[in-house]
């Protein structure tokens, strides 16, 4: 930065809203155009309020994955203090705690990450396939089955 610029900087004055008001009374803040939870804000909020069941299903499947991973951890590590309390050879303690535990923990973690990501992919697929297929709007019209048999339109999906 050149001296010239430093000199220019020193001529600056600091301006803020408070300094702009000076002695003037602070005007009451204007009401925000939107509250943090506006009544009709975009699809995102609609999804969070309308889609409780979706969210709960996702939570349940994620919780199931988490509990499976934790269960594996408990089963693999939980009994270890009991086992090691037996008059075990010291080498076993070293092998189990000094080395063996780490790959096991990592493997469980790796499984969980893959499972959790798969759950999320499945979920995204479940929620979003519909909007991706809007283009095939009229392909399912060949069927003549009565209402509610569940067979109408499957053909277009398979295609």
């Amino acid at each position: 930065m050149s001296e010239h610029q430093a000199a220019r900087r020193s001529r600056r004055e600091t301006v803020t809203y408070a300094s702009a008001l000076g002695d003037r009374p602070v005007p009451p803040p204007r009401p925000r155009p939107r509250t943090p939870h506006p009544p009709a804000r975009s699809e995102i909020d609609e999804q969070t309020t309308l889609g409780h069941t979706y969210v709960r299903s996702l939570m349940r499947s994620q919780l199931r994955a988490a509990l499976t991973a934790l269960g594996a951890l408990v089963l693999l590590v939980g009994p270890l203090p009991l086992l090691l309390a037996l008059p075990a050879p010291e080498t076993l303690v070293w092998a189990a705690l000094g080395f063996g535990a780490y790959p096991v923990v990592w493997a469980v973690a790796h499984w969980y990450v893959r499972r959790a990501e798969r759950n999320e992919r499945d979920f995204t697929g479940l929620v979003e396939t519909g909007s991706a297929e809007t283009g095939s709007a009229e392909t399912g019209s060949a069927g003549t089955g009565p209402v509610g048999t569940g067979s109408v339109g499957t053909g277009s999906v398979e295609r």
Binding site: H37, I44, D45, Q47, T48, T49, G51, H52, V55, L58, M59, Q62, L63, A65, A66, A69, L70, L73, V77, P81, L82, L84, A85, E90, V93, W94, L97, G98, F99, A101, Y102, P103, V105, W106, V108, A109, H110, Y112, V113, A116, E117, E120, F123, T124, V127, E128
Partner: protein, 581 residues
């Protein structure tokens, strides 16, 4: 040990930290590289940063010391520190990131929509931060004492000053790169000497470390007892004593001590002939090294209880450490947070293979450290003891530099988190007084309190002191995070009651034990390892009080839970930058 190299190494680490803090490590880019500059942090880099901040010197020095004194059962510590990230991964990582919270207090406010819950969480963040800073400063003091012979408070003061200075002066400007670098520095500082030491050990005929029998000294050894100890002898022992044993003063006289207990006054030197058996410390409640005794076995039932207490505290406590939570904010989205945690698991696990190794080598080559009360220094003295000469000095200096870097990185991360929370929620503030000066005051407070407490409080092995912070975190923030993320009926009163009762009782038990108020026997064990009862207490209180106050369920709960769990593709909260190019 040659002090020059070690002092030079520590000085250069301190200088580098000050410089980085003062100048700031920024990435400068011109327009053409804008894309690089606006790219979010990759999981691997962020994971190295998290690991760098997490792997405190207190933990790795402490673990090696505990293994030296008490054997491989102490390896539960590193296993717990690592597995804590697994629990964090499966229960917390992605939702915590998606909550948009920066600190744990932010999470409490976001989930519970309550300012009071936020303030309570802030108090706990500060408490846990201080508990965790305590062993960092203590360990730094010990390291400097071993290296230079300075009084044990000097190292703590040095770290506190450097950290307060750099954080108050504007912080680590780009903390991710600094901390990621620290991880690799620590790993190198521990790995390279370990390879040399292993080679020397192999060349020595690979002697086995024995923990089931008293250690046998290999050379003529002079042990200087720092604090008064009681030693127990199984067989008669011939030593040359300068000082006082059993209230009898000696000056360089060779005496034979009969089997049984003996009282050795602090400051006494004992000279052992090669091949003599090292006497064991006789533990009692007031003996700081007796702290982990239950874990290593001996008294009926205590061992299992203490082990499970340690497992619960470390497995569940990691998620509630203030400096761990804030690092997740850097991940661009929940999926990246998960992957980051997976890499952290790998990095932390790889690192924790080493301290046990140092402990075992210490048992073979420097068993007398168990007697002197400075077993935590085992890592630092081993190169000199095993290799000696210039190589030993250089490797020792490398280890000292790594340890000091670790003290600085963990302490600065903790100080930043604690000072941030103090500024926002604890210190009284008006809109006008917020800002830089306020933050500096908070930084000072954040380091001064643990420094002062460290001088006053009783010394416990640093690994145990770290474990205490985990116990409090596991009993307070673990229930808050887990229930907050997975249970829709959590209410602010429930959460606050759980935080108070779980975290408060664990904190009280820990404080009482540290102050030496805990009675002997089971009471001591229960209070020293509170997690077994305080974690269920925290969960239970939270659940029961929440169920009793169903009308206080925050109105935004469904929306928040949706945001915590929905992938960003659906909520659209992820940066869209990966879309093109």
């Amino acid at each position: 040990m040659n002090q020059t190299y070690a002092v030079a190494a520590v000085t250069s680490v301190v200088l580098a930290t000050v410089l980085i803090g003062a100048l700031g490590l920024r990435i400068s880019r011109t327009t053409s590289d804008f894309y690089v500059a606006s790219r979010t942090v990759r999981p691997a880099l962020n994971a190295a940063a998290i690991s760098g901040e997490y792997l405190s010197a207190a933990s790795f020095l402490g673990i090696a010391g505990l293994v030296l004194v008490q054997g491989p059962a102490m390896l539960w510590y590193p296993v717990g520190y690592t597995a804590g990230y697994l629990v964090l991964l499966v229960l917390v990582a992605a939702p915590l990131r998606r909550s948009g919270a920066y600190t744990l207090s932010d999470f409490a406010e976001a989930r519970l929509e309550s300012r009071r819950a936020r303030r309570l969480a802030s108090l706990l963040v500060v408490g846990i931060g201080w508990l965790y800073l305590l062993p960092q400063l203590q360990g730094a003091g010990l390291t400097l004492e071993i290296l230079t012979g300075a009084p044990d408070w000097v190292g703590g003061l040095l770290v506190a000053l450097v950290v307060t200075g750099t954080v108050a002066a504007g912080g680590m400007r780009s903390i991710t790169f600094v901390q990621a670098f620290q991880y690799w520095l620590k790993l190198t500082a521990l790995l390279v000497p370990a390879l040399f030491l292993l080679a020397a050990w192999y060349g020595d005929g690979a002697p086995r470390a024995r923990f089931d029998a008293p250690a046998v000294l290999r050379d003529h050894t002079v042990v200087r007892i720092a604090d008064t100890v009681r030693i127990g002898l199984a067989a008669p022992l011939t030593v040359t004593v300068t000082g006082s044993v059993d209230s009898v003063a000696y000056t360089g006289r060779t005496v034979t001590l009969a089997p049984g207990a003996h009282h050795v006054l602090g400051g006494t030197s004992l000279a052992f002939a090669p091949g003599s058996t090292l006497p064991e410390r006789a533990a009692d409640g007031s003996d700081p090294l007796g702290w982990s005794q239950p874990l290593a076995g001996g008294r009926d039932g205590h061992q299992l209880y203490a082990t499970y207490g340690l497992i619960l505290a470390t497995f569940l406590g990691t998620m509630g450490l203030p400096h761990v939570a804030v690092r997740f904010y850097t991940s661009p989205h929940g999926r990246a947070a998960r992957r980051t945690t997976l890499v952290v698991l790998g990095l932390v696990g790889a690192f924790y293979l080493l301290p046990g190794l140092y402990g075992a080598l210490g048992r073979i080559y420097a068993p007398e450290l168990a007697l002197t009360g400075s077993a935590d220094a085992a890592v630092l003295v081993l190169p000199d003891r095993i290799l000696g000469g210039l190589l030993g000095d250089l490797l020792g200096a490398l280890l000292a530099a790594g340890a000091f870097a670790a003290f600085l990185s963990t302490a600065s991360g903790l100080t930043m988190s604690v000072a941030g929370v103090l500024t926002q929620d604890v210190l009284p503030s008006r809109a006008s007084s917020r800002g830089v000066r306020h933050f500096r005051l908070a930084t000072l407070l954040a380091t001064a309190v643990p420094l002062a407490v460290g001088v006053v409080a009783s010394k416990v092995p640093v690994a145990d002191a770290v474990g205490l912070a985990f116990a409090v975190s596991a009993s307070s923030f673990c229930p808050l995070l887990v229930l907050g993320i997975w249970w829709r009926r959590l209410t602010p009163p429930g959460a606050m009651a759980g935080l108070l009762l779980g975290g408060g009782s664990a904190l009280a038990a820990v404080m009482a034990t540290r102050a030496g108020l805990a009675p002997e026997g089971w009471a001591h064990t229960l209070m020293a390892w509170p997690a077994v009862w305080s974690v269920p207490l925290g969960f239970l209180t939270m659940v029961l009080v929440s169920l009793a106050t169903p009308r206080r369920i925050p109105p935004g709960t469904p929306a928040i839970l949706a945001r915590l769990h929905l992938p960003e593709e659906i909520t659209g909260a992820a940066p869209a930058q990966e879309a093109r190019r």
